[in-house]
């Protein structure tokens, strides 16, 4: 079955530390990849996405993610986190790109707490 794994369930960092959140998926075909973020009290927002082309994609607020096809991974990174990055981060995969899309398969989320 198609699945998305986020190995870090809770991450605690100090401000200015670097961040990397892992995401692996199990699907052998063409995929669209997404990272969503949910700040406390807010709804899910799109952080960044990868459809094709340069495997290193940049999103909002200084986040970036790298698609490594051979590893079925799409890890999220930020060189220096801020307290305002405290949120829950979800990796999502759309297997089967083409036209108006279909289901998104979500990982279980990673709760990031940044200590000032």
């Amino acid at each position: 079955a198609q699945s998305v794994s986020q190995h870090n369930h809770h991450v605690i960092l100090s401000e200015a530390a670097s961040l990397e959140l892992g995401c692996n998926y199990s699907y052998g075909g063409t995929v669209n990849l997404f990272w969503y973020v949910q700040y406390p009290g807010q709804h899910l927002q799109l952080l960044l996405k990868y459809f094709s082309g340069d495997p290193l994609v940049k999103g909002i607020k200084g986040f970036e993610a790298e698609f490594i096809k051979s590893k079925f991974s799409f890890n999220l990174r930020k060189p220096s986190v801020q307290w305002s990055d405290t949120a829950e981060y979800f990796c999502a995969v759309n297997p089967g790109y083409g036209g108006a899309t279909n289901k998104l398969i979500f990982g279980t989320g990673t709760l990031l707490a940044v200590q000032p």
Partner: protein, 119 residues
């Protein structure tokens, strides 16, 4: 991106009753979806709400339990029928739209969610 609203934002319901959740978008969109996020779990797609035809349900979800309407390109409802405590979840709608419009194709945008507690 489009502005997506859901009503109610939260509700507490009794076992055996039904609740209808509304999702309104401020622009026309091609696709509307309904997801469920159970406590401590990730989002799971319930169904795709099709305008002018029956919704397309994912495995494990049925129309009798989760009837969906989509009368036009900006509005959809999800009903949670004959509720039990296991239906306590956050229910979210998402939308995906025409390329070049305010809501890009191939990217889903989410509403604020409806937090449902069933006693």
């Amino acid at each position: 991106s489009a502005v997506i609203s859901q009503k109610p934002s939260r509700d507490i319901c009794q076992r055996g009753t039904s609740l209808t959740i509304q999702c309104q978008v401020d622009s026309q969109v091609t696709m509307m979806f309904w997801y469920r996020q159970q406590p401590g779990q990730s989002l799971t797609l319930i169904a795709t709400a099709n305008q002018g035809s029956e919704a397309t349900y994912e495995s494990g979800f049925v129309i009798d339990k989760f009837p969906i309407s989509r009368p036009n390109l900006t509005f959809s409802t999800l009903t949670v029928s004959n509720m039990s405590p296991e239906d306590s979840s956050i229910y979210l709608c998402s939308v995906e739209g025409l390329a070049g419009g305010p809501v890009l194709a191939d990217t889903q945008y989410f509403g604020p969610g409806t937090r449902l507690t069933v006693l």
